[in-house]
Amino acid sequence: MNNEKDTVVISRADQLWDFATRRQFLRVAGLGGAIVLLPSMFACSEDNPTGNGSNTGPNRNASDPVTLDLRTDIGIFNFLFLFEQTEVAYYNTAVASAAFAGMTAEQREIMTDLRGVETVHREFLRALLGSNGVGNASFNQTALSAAAATGAAILRTAEMLEDTGVATQIGFGKYIQSPDYLAIAGKINSMEARHAAALRDVREAAGLAAVGTAGTRFAGDDIVVPSGTYAGLNAKIEYPDALARVSATTFVKTRIEVSSPPATKAGTPDFGPPNPTP
């Protein structure tokens, strides 16, 4: 078997939706091959190593690629760690933006709480993972700032990050092997659902988002399965979808590679969060 068959290289977020790529992805994932997400869709590929020269571990250069083995709880928690880092990078930018001062007191309270809580999550995961952690990712400040140009953009981006985070964490739950780690993931997940609902609700109240039935957007029919066998269940996605969504933000410069997907586990059908519209 040549090397090409062992690795799927994804250079654009939308390639995950491309039929040929997706089929190839599923086949390679089934063979335990590698999935590589290239940062080529990102605004720049600046390399400015700030770590200790190592390319693995908690002191890895932030711009070096990260390789995750999702067969292990450590790999899964490092994925969650990278996601929290992305959220914090954005929320730091949001609360420091010129637009933040123009938001309502309620909206500023939400964003300030959100930044504080996500920072705690990030540093908690860094401490929990210890020497098994992957260290910092590097971020595209231009893209982060561009997404924080207005209060409406801040709320929209935050909602997207939180709805995606909730759905991603749920998708990982079945792969977690340690009950202790599952319990920890659960403690974080309901928090993320609280933020997501608050952001959805505040966007409805500010007239910033379309809603089916007034007053219901916090747990609307676009984020909780509205009918059928799985009615009443929150959105859920699997990690390739999550990676594609994170990539689409162009916030993350660090290349994230999945060396091994999780062992197959039975689950429930995906229901992806919508990309919020302005």
Binding site: T72, D73, I74, E109, I110, D113, L114, G116, V117, T119, V120, E123, F124, R126, A127, L128, G130, S131, N132, I170, G173, K174, Q177, S178, P179, D180, Y181, A183, I184, G186, K187, I188, N189, S190, M191, A193, R194, H195, A196, A197, A198, V202, T213, G215, T216, F218, A219, G220, I223, V224, T229, Y230, A231, G232, L233, N234, K236, K265, G267, T268
Partner: protein, 319 residues
Amino acid sequence: MTTTPNATILSAVEPDITQRIVSRRDAILKGASAAAMTRAALAIGSVPVALAALSREAGAQTMSVTDVLNFALMLEIFENEFYKAVLGTSASAAQNAAFAPVRAAAAGVAGAVPALQQIQKHEQQHVAFLLANGATNLLGLTATSFDFTGNRSAAGGGPFAAATTSLPFLLAVAQGAEDTGVRAYKGQAGNLMSNTVVLEAALRIHAVEARHASKIRRMRRATGAPTQVRYAGYVQGDGLLAAGVSNLTNVPAAVTAAFTAMYAGEGNTTHGGVNVATLSNIPNDIDLASAATMAFDEPLTKTQVVAIVQPFFIPSIPA
């Protein structure tokens, strides 16, 4: 505090092995707690062993997947019947009549009724999902099985009677019910690991309950609840403070005790051996003391949950 757990070791350490390393029996005989065992394990330098010791303690109430489904169904029927009574759609005319005054008050608050209808819709869907996936209504619960005033009597008249007339009181009770639901599901995740379909569905329901709790907190904050009730929907602090009910007046002692029980342990800041209240690398402009308690929701055991909800059930809930 920085810890360095190793997943490979962690998954390999069985609680029974841990027991030999950290003698649980000795610890109990000496009146020690799980926390003390964890400290003992930490003292011998093993976070995985410490986690396994905690796991043994947390798993004291091991339940089968079917047990968990039945327990979840019981709670979802309770919530569904509660909201139906509030909205006037209960099969029991008496329940509908009891809540008529507060229903009129809710109708005067923009968006309140649609939000409660959406929540009730989800609770009904959760009931249907659980029934379709192996749960049994062991107590034969119906609309008339509940006394939402907390008196375990069809005649009502219990300490929560103000929920039928006062919107702030009703919303505080709804918040408590949702947060208790979140905590109950969280406490059962470990018991569902053998059935990943049910586990994933439960995690998805758990997140929906958290969305409900967030919305109700936001409705409360907008109508006079204290700042512990965050606009972001978080649970801040522990016990009665976390309930955020200082805006209620003439609160019976039994209600105060119930709110305290609903949020018992919510202020915990140590997770997997890491105390997040003392994390380093937190920027100075973040209020860590506040963020640390908000950042994690805590589980409840079945015993704790049953103690909280029993006053609203006319039949006795078996242990």
